[in-house]
């Protein structure tokens, strides 16, 4: 263990000798990390981002620009405005982190995609726990081919709606969903999540509703907290396994977004990324190169 800590200190985290199931995982010290700052999104569902009188970028969106084209560099500032209740957050939580900078690394081998997320645990707000089982949850979604409306531009926003649960006045029964959902036609988001309390990975999808099971691509999801740093590694098969799994092929890019439920949060009270592209041996915001 001491050896691992020393290795981490020089920036070379090795899975060797830890006895984890990640024996096949790449040498993360050699994989380039992309910095992505997650921010607190308040009430900004798909309907809001398209409404010109509320969102100045609605016009840009109509023209085909992506959210990240305008906002990638300012997500921390956006988070501050929203978490404080200055904008689009009707019920601000005192002390809630405004943003979370995350390092994202990706790699693949002949069989699997490996995704590693690491971030510093922000200060706790001290507010009531919404999910008392899980202090932290991290999820990512993949979409293939831009078949879901706005998936190419807006990332996870294509699944987030004004009537999804925990939105103001929304029913508790309604989850995330995509418009015109069809598993057969590929109009869905492939969803993966790791929960810190349950210490478990989930392989689900978002189609006409969000389900946390049905997929069989997830090989493992492992997370740990070292001091104040969280590290979570997902291993998933490149091939589509079960229902709602996106098949990943070399040379292609996929719509990718991720979110952290920090501070025992649930529903919309998470920190989210804008929409990015994940490439498998292809140039993208995050490229998973073959190891």
């Amino acid at each position: 263990m001491k050896k691992t800590m020393i290795a981490a200190a020089v920036g070379t985290v090795l899975a060797l000798g830890t006895g984890s199931a990640l024996a096949a995982a790449p040498d993360w010290g050699k994989v380039e990390a992309k910095d992505i700052t997650l921010f607190y999104p308040g009430v900004s569902p798909l309907e809001w981002i398209q409404k010109g009188s509320a969102h100045g970028g609605a016009r840009a969106l109509k023209k085909g620009e992506t959210c990240a084209d305008c906002h990638h560099e300012e997500t921390s500032d956006m988070g501050k405005k929203i978490a404080s209740g200055q904008k689009i957050e009707p019920s601000p939580i005192a002390g809630k982190a405004a943003f979370i900078p995350v390092k994202v690394q990706a790699a693949h081998d002949a069989d699997n995609l490996y995704l590693r997320f690491s971030w510093k645990q922000p200060a706790a707000s001290g507010a009531a726990k919404m999910d008392d089982k899980n202090p932290v949850k991290i999820a990512f979604m993949l979409e293939s081919g831009g078949k879901v409306e706005l998936a190419d531009q807006a990332g996870c926003w294509a699944t987030c709606h004004t009537d999804s649960r925990t939105m103001p006045d929304a029913a508790d029964t309604k989850t995330k969903y995509v418009k015109g959902a069809s598993l057969a036609e590929g109009k869905f988001y492939d969803l993966y999540q790791w929960r810190s309390g349950e210490k478990k990975g989930f392989d689900g999808h978002v189609a006409d509703t969000r389900v946390m099971e049905g997929g069989s691509a997830l090989v493992s999801a492992e997370g740990k907290q070292d001091g104040d740093t969280w590290t979570v590694v997902f291993t998933r098969k490149l091939a589509a396994g079960g229902q709602g799994d996106v098949a990943l092929e070399a040379g292609k890019t996929y719509n990718f977004g991720f979110a952290i439920h920090d501070d025992s949060a649930a529903g919309r009270f998470h920190h989210v990324s804008l929409g990015y592209k994940l490439g498998i041996d292809a140039k993208a915001d995050i490229t998973a190169a073959k190891q």
């Binding site: 009188s53 609605a58 016009r59 023209k63 305008c70 906002h71 990638h72």
Partner: protein, 187 residues
């Protein structure tokens, strides 16, 4: 009437001209002084309707207080600088005297009820003039997108490409945005 048309036998041409010129200067000077007096922030906020509502909102914005110490006051944005346009605007604005007399926006409630209508009217004026008053200070030709933040850079590049005008996007830049705006207001 005939006397007005008959040349004077009593006064010299020079005397008549001098008196005429003097009267002209006095009249023009007086007119201009009054005109310019109505073209100041002090005049605008001498009405409580302006002072209590839009002026207070404007004081929170970058056009009032900023890093460089340049200030745009009410007439800088709301009254054209060039004479002809200024006169047209002034004549139009005389309607506001009627509004003042009848108290059409004399309370904060009445002001809020009319805010969208008033704002739309000013937005339409600015758009029709290609944001002329904004452009007295700002211009794409002197703008360096490289020095702007990512979002501003992107938006301005699109605006140039689509030949848009400042007010198309910058509504509510100096005053609160009205309630009840529609998507058409943003196009």
């Amino acid at each position: 009437m005939a006397r007005l048309r008959r040349p004077s036998t009593k006064y010299s041409l020079g005397g008549l001209l001098s008196v005429g010129i003097l009267l002209g200067v006095l009249f023009w000077g007086g007119f201009n002084t009054v005109l310019e007096a109505t073209n100041t922030e002090t005049f605008c906020i001498s009405c409580h309707e302006m002072e209590e509502n839009v002026y207070q909102e404007y004081k929170e914005t970058i056009h009032y207080n900023n890093r460089t110490g340049v200030r745009a006051t009410c007439p800088d944005c709301h009254v054209p600088k060039e004479w002809t346009h200024k006169m047209i605007r002034k004549v139009q604005a005389s309607r506001e005297v009627w509004g003042k007399l009848t108290g059409s926006i004399s309370t904060p409630e009445k002001f809020e009820a009319k805010r969208l209508t008033l704002a739309r009217s000013e937005w339409a004026r600015m758009k029709a003039a290609d944001s002329r008053e904004c452009r007295n200070c700002h211009g794409f030709e002197s703008m360096d997108p490289e020095k702007q933040k990512q979002r501003a850079r992107k938006q301005h590049e699109m605006a140039i490409e689509d030949k848009m005008t400042c007010i198309d996007c910058h509504k509510g830049i100096a005053h609160h945005k009205p309630e009840g705006m529609t998507d058409e207001d943003e196009e």
